[in-house]
């Protein structure tokens, strides 16, 4: 899923300067799972904004809502009226949701409360880490299902690098070296030969923005 985290409060409050009716809208998908933009976070955000305005004696009206997803405009019907009523919409969704709102409501000010990060997993409660960079040309069949582009800071396709030692990463010593993990897994699977194959330079033509996928067989 997409992992994001809340922007610094100061930055958010600065963005909201001058707006009197603020719709705070969260999302029940990825950002709820990574505790950045769900029901709880929307309520906390509302309270923070009201405390800030009260301290500075500036009036504000906040509306708090959460919808299933912000990456599909069909879910916006539930907040349509609130959007029209507000001066600014503070979205607690990932960047995709913010874009979707902006495209759907071109006459409204749409602001991002989050910094969207990466595609990843929950390692444990409160800890999320990157697992896929969306390169568009998956090589996980060659690396026992572990992605070197997402987990090696040098993105080497024929690893490990010179600095890998004791199974740890040279750049982030608290992390395991993903090439060490790949080596261990391939060894266990009796497929160490895969590690001996040279992976050629990556074809990035499907890996860079702006990307689009079209399925003619599905289009109406």
């Amino acid at each position: 899923m997409i992992i994001a985290q809340r922007k610094p409060i100061k930055e958010i409050l600065k963005m909201l300067e001058g707006y009197k009716k603020i719709l705070i809208v969260g999302c029940r998908a990825c950002v709820t799972v990574c505790c950045a933009g769900g029901q709880k976070e929307v309520e906390v955000m509302g309270s923070i904004i009201r405390i800030d305005r009260k301290r500075r004696n500036i009036a504000v009206k906040t509306i708090e809502r959460v919808i299933d997803r912000q990456c599909d405009s069909i879910y916006f019907s539930a907040i349509d009226e609130d959007v029209q009523e507000s001066d600014a919409v503070l979205s607690l969704a990932c960047g995709v949701g913010v874009n979707m709102l902006a495209e759907t409501y071109p006459k409204k000010v749409i602001l991002p409360a989050l910094n969207t990060g990466f595609m990843g997993i929950t390692e444990e409660q409160g800890v999320w880490s990157e697992r896929c960079i969306g390169c568009g040309d998956c090589i996980l069949d060659k690396t026992a299902g572990l992605c070197p582009l997402a987990r090696c800071p040098k993105g080497v396709l024929n690893g490990p690098c010179l600095g890998s030692n004791q199974g740890k990463c040279e750049v982030y010593p608290e992390n395991d070296c993903v090439w060490y993990l790949i080596y261990k897994r391939l060894k266990e699977l009796n497929q160490l030969d895969k590690l001996k194959e040279i992976i050629p330079p990556k074809n990035w033509s499907e890996g860079l923005p702006p990307r689009k996928i079209i399925r003619e067989d599905i289009r109406l």
Binding site: L157, N158, P160, G163, S164, Y180, K196, I198
Partner: protein, 279 residues
């Protein structure tokens, strides 16, 4: 002095070569390069010109190499993988080749976060295995890379080395050697005959300097020798230790030369070469 492929020629004739790490200046300083070149010219067989080492901005290796060539030195040009994509890298290889450089080098560079521009966007479009293949496309090119003989698990690094060999690598340099016993274990695992191995050596300036060096597998006996020397005698002890290691390496079958790491202490290089009877 012939420049084209003469490092290759020296190695193929069985000459015990001496190469050294060369960090270009951090400012646009042609004079400094020329001054250093004059000292190193009569002391080492070739100079490895590094590309933005330690992820810090330095004069470009192509410019530095050109200055060195004009002073009659034999440069090995390092091309980093962190700062350039495959087009820029090939452009540099062609440029260097046109100027007469045949010896090239690659290693997996320091990540930008440790350097002077931690917020920079890194490239890493090619890795070393892929880059070696590209460098070998230049006719008569002589290509090297680096390995850490003390890394664990060694099997993983040797598999990686075998890929570099398949890609055509001609010589390898090792990270500095202090533990000769472990180094000999490593040598016994390298059976490839067409691969020249240059053992890394590094003179330690002081016990203080040792503390700030990256973990380099230095045996306790050496640590003690430095620690127990009075502060003003530690540099001398560091040189002594290095010379002893060089002399031992000369006797190990499979070692074709040494690569001196002394970027902060270039003055020590002529001393080491002289004391170890290398020229």
């Amino acid at each position: 002095m012939k420049i084209n492929g003469s490092l290759k020629a020296a190695l193929s004739k069985g000459h015990f070569v001496v190469t050294t790490e060369f960090y270009p200046p951090k400012e646009a300083n042609k004079n400094e390069v020329e001054k250093r070149a004059l000292v190193l010219k009569n002391v080492v067989d070739a100079v490895l010109v590094r590309d933005n080492p330690l992820a810090e901005v330095h004069m470009s290796p192509l410019a530095t190499t050109t200055i060195l060539l004009n002073k009659g030195l034999k440069p090995i040009m390092h091309i980093g993988i962190r700062d350039k994509n495959r087009l820029a890298i090939q452009s540099d290889i062609l440029g260097a080749s046109a100027l007469g450089v045949k010896a090239f080098f690659c290693l997996e560079d320091c990540h930008q976060r440790v350097g002077d521009h931690p917020g920079a966007k890194a490239v890493f479009d090619l890795d070393c295995v892929q880059l070696i293949s590209i460098m070998k496309k230049i006719e008569h090119s002589f290509v090297g890379t680096r390995i850490n003989p003390f890394a664990h698990p060694l099997e993983l690094h040797l598999i990686n080395l075998s890929k570099k060999i398949n890609a055509g690598v001609d010589f390898i340099q090792t990270m500095p050697v202090f533990d000769l016993e472990r180094f000999e274990e490593f040598i016994s695992l390298i059976k490839e005959e067409n691969l020249y191995l240059l053992a890394g050596v590094s003179p330690i300036k002081s016990w203080q300097a040792l503390q700030s060096m990256p973990k380099m597998n230095v045996p306790d006996s050496i640590v003690r020798r430095l620690k127990n020397s009075p502060e003003n005698k530690q540099a001398e002890e560091g040189i002594k230790i290095c010379v002893e290691i060089i002399n031992a390496l000369k006797e190990i079958k499979g070692v074709s030369g040494i690569h001196i790491f002394a970027p902060d202490w270039e003055e020590s290089i002529p001393v080491l070469v002289h004391r170890a009877n290398l020229k």
